[in-house]
């Protein structure tokens, strides 16, 4: 459903994506991993049309996305930091997103799940970072989009909310959605990922299932396998 061909992007002298080819056609969760500044967020933002690549093309549902915007009807995006217009309250924000997106949505179950009722009438600037993140999750997930893009979505969540969030992602997976996730929390990857992509210096360094990763490094320990991947990367680039 998402196809990326020869994607290149640089910011100044810094080549962030360097001829990236990827395909996401199977339902399930793909964890996109890599060290800081490896191009994970740039990749996600390119799919959303927020970053405009220099070379290469992205296709969503078979359509080239350049200069189009309506394909984003099918994508829900959860950004790294949730910041909103300060003087609106949470329910106004949710209503705004509903009005702007037009598609069917239901925020109620998520509001209940994250116990957001008391915060709905408060101005967004008075909410804590974690509560803002919950509002952000609700605003993105209240639509039934076939593609979810989650850029470090768990920042600021308390342990209970994190569990709720994991359960939520699991439900979405069962609905047959394509989910792309970047995170530095390896347990989350271990519990949720069906596929792992390791990006390094703008290229795909590893692309396979968690089992394949364990097999490649001949270990049972997931975190050790990821660590080996990162170390190998260091060795290759010293």
């Amino acid at each position: 459903m998402i196809e990326i061909q020869g994607l290149q992007k640089s910011f100044g002298k810094n080549q962030v994506l360097n001829g990236l080819d990827l395909k996401f056609s199977e339902p399930g969760l793909t964890a996109i991993l890599g060290p800081n500044a490896s191009g994970k967020t740039t990749l996600l933002k390119s799919i959303l049309g927020m970053v405009i690549p220099e070379k290469g093309d992205i296709y969503v549902k078979g359509k080239r996305i350049r200069d189009h915007y309506d394909y984003r009807e099918d994508i829900a995006f959860l950004p790294q930091i949730a910041r909103f217009p300060e003087n609106l309250n949470a329910s106004e924000l949710l209503k705004m997103v509903q009005v702007l997106r037009k598609g069917d949505s239901d925020a109620e179950p998520l509001i209940k799940k994250f116990k957001l009722e008391p915060s709905l009438s408060k101005k967004l600037k008075y909410l804590s970072g974690g509560t803002k993140q919950k509002v952000s999750i609700t605003s993105a997930m209240m639509f039934d989009c076939p593609i979810l893009i989650l850029d470090e979505p768990t920042a600021g969540l308390d342990p209970v909310s994190l569990m709720e969030f994991k359960a939520l992602i699991d439900e979405e997976k069962k609905k047959g959605k394509i989910i792309l996730l970047t995170t530095h929390i390896l347990t989350l990857v271990h519990q949720l990922a069906d596929r792992i992509i390791f990006i390094l210096e703008g290229k795909v360094f590893f692309n396979g299932t968690p089992e394949e990763l364990l097999k490649k490094y001949n270990t049972d320990d997931f975190e050790a396998a990821i660590a080996s991947l990162t170390q190998q990367e260091v060795l290759t680039h010293v």
Partner: protein, 260 residues
Amino acid sequence: MFRIFQYSLKDLIRSRWIFYYGVFYLLFTTGLFILSNDLSKSIISLMNITLVLVPLIATIFGSMYFYQSREFVELLLAQPLPRQRIFGGLFLGVSLSLGICYLLGVGIPFVFYGIAGSGEIWNFLTLLFNGVILSLIFSGLAIWIGLANENKLKGFGIAIVVWLFFAVIYDGIQLLLLVAFSEYPIEKFSIGASILNPISLSRIQILLKLDISALMGFTGAVFKKFFGTNTGIIISTLSLIFWTIIPFMGIIFTSRKKDF
């Protein structure tokens, strides 16, 4: 575009700063009436304040709002909306909330003072028109500069320099050129130079309307001589409206190529 404009307006109207800005005009205009007790004189005093302060506040506010709403812009960009609608909506939200504040802050005391029945009504409306249009132009320029500059400090600095250029430096350069080339026929140059500066245009328009030759200066006098009062007012109005299109187009064009 209308929806985003609506939400950004709602957000801004509730902000404290925009409220203080409106209250400032309210107090200032009321103060002028108490001190001068004369509609015509109050309009002239307000003109001087409008020509300097409106562009300055619009520049500062436009710049600050743009950088502050960056993450909000990212949220909007992830929605199925074209960029021109997002930035067009934000521009209208900022510029019109400043314009409304000006309109209410200056307008309410005048209405209470009985402007409606007086002969000064058209002069007053000219003043309001200029206050609103300068808010639009300079907040638009500030947002455009913000879009083109990732670095907040740099963007803010450039926006202030642009204001300083149009409000102060431009007049100085124009005056120097007029003095240096005073032996040549420089009327057309002078008119052209005034049209290229929205603050000069506003000043000329208000002075033409008020018909105060003493304050008009060389360019105003040339404008009047060249076009006559009415044509002069029409040309300056059209040029000012054209000036609002420039930052708007700039915002649309720059936003299309920008990475977020």
